[in-house]
Symmetry: C2
Subunit: 235 residues, 2 copies
């Protein structure tokens, strides 16, 4: 295995295997043994073992002598691990996972907004406002509008002052990127600027309850969109 774009062999293999596992590549067939891994990826045993150990640390694999290395059931995966979350995005779009992401966001973000209303300092508020302005200014260019949308939501997580909320930034990043796949198919729908502005205003006023409900409204709408749109039917 050749080292690619600055990543070490071990981390390259970690990435490759992580994506393969999450996308179900080994579901029927069982995971390769160490020897097979070394051969398939032309890697040394050290590299293969360390990649497997890292995947084990994330709950994706387990290994025992004689029994081999197995893919763990999804219920054991560390779904909130940023790497795992990211790998989840690389697999074929699933309405279910998108709904589950949004349910997590529905739980976290309103409370984060409420905490932000209580604790945000000037710098926090500037970051949130920058996100909102970006959404407004680049409404036409999808990529930049999405980036600004993400910036807005992540800035609120940070402003909450709770490091655990901050951990979920990768999930929200992923969820919002998935969401374009959904909302683009629904004619004329774009992220609502006024709804986002309401959140900012409430945070600026220190209105925790207002921020909570304004954010909750944004996410409830997303959740409604998902339920309305069933990919099996068409739109």
């Amino acid at each position: 295995m050749r080292t690619q774009h600055g990543v070490s062999l071990t981390y390259g293999l970690l990435e490759t295997l992580g994506q393969s596992i999450v996308s179900g590549h080994y579901d029927g067939s069982g995971f390769p043994t160490e020897a097979e891994l070394c051969q398939q990826f032309s890697a040394s045993r050290t590299v293969a073992r360390e990649a497997v150990k890292m995947l084990t640390a994330k709950g994706l694999l387990s290994a025992r002598p004689r029994q081999g290395t197995k893919v763990e059931p999804v219920s054991r995966w560390n779904l909130l691990d940023p790497d795992v979350t990211r790998w989840l995005m690389e697999r074929p779009f699933s309405n279910t996972i998108y709904r589950e992401f949004t349910e997590v966001r529905l739980a976290i973000e309103p409370v984060a907004a409420a905490l932000a209303a209580q604790h945000a300092d000037r710098k926090d508020i500037k970051a949130i406002r920058d996100g909102l302005n970006g959404m407004r200014d680049h409404a036409a260019e999808h990529d930049q509008a999405l980036a600004a949308d993400i910036e807005f939501h992540v800035a609120i997580l940070r402003a909450s002052g709770n490091p655990f909320f901050w951990q979920l930034r990768e999930l929200i990043n992923t969820a919002l990127r998935l969401s374009i796949g959904v909302t683009n198919k629904i004619s004329g729908h774009t992220a609502s600027i006024p709804a986002h502005e309401a959140v900012l205003i409430a945070i600026e006023k220190g209105d925790a309850d207002g921020a909570l409900h304004a954010m909750r409204a944004i996410l409830l709408e997303s959740l409604e969109l998902i339920k309305t749109y069933d990919p099996a039917v068409g739109e």
Copy 2:
């Protein structure tokens, strides 16, 4: 290093190092080099490296040639990793971390209860009721009452049907175990049975909004308790 109680050397070292890092043992001094680790723990380089790699996968460490291995800032830790969460409990009690845990619970559990009200099947409800009954029947014995309390809350996470919520069981487990350290110091306080019962009843009725608010009430009370009780003052 001798293998202890059935754990492999690598996992033993992972546990030891994880606890040490989280408890701040290397904060001033910097993390040992591979060579030093091998010597200090009488471990082979493979064992040391694999333990370090797993800690890297959890965001606690980073390693670069010539620069050595460093403890990452807390903001990079995978705080929602079950192992990390558990290690956090082993360090000296901190009012801050307990508040942060409870804020996460305040976000997650009400929404989980609402989803449970929509999706719970008979088995889910039985598990929740078992928890509640356990709290009632063993109100006097602290250990069993705590276990039942945990069972109640975790059963609701499971009943939500969202695997991401289920990931937070270790955090809730830890938070509730920490909570006895707080509530025991507040005379006469025990987990409120009626408040928990209200959650169960709402879930049984399929009343999502009722379940959400009932659960929210429980957690808001916990949060109030923390604010009231300042360990610096005494009680």
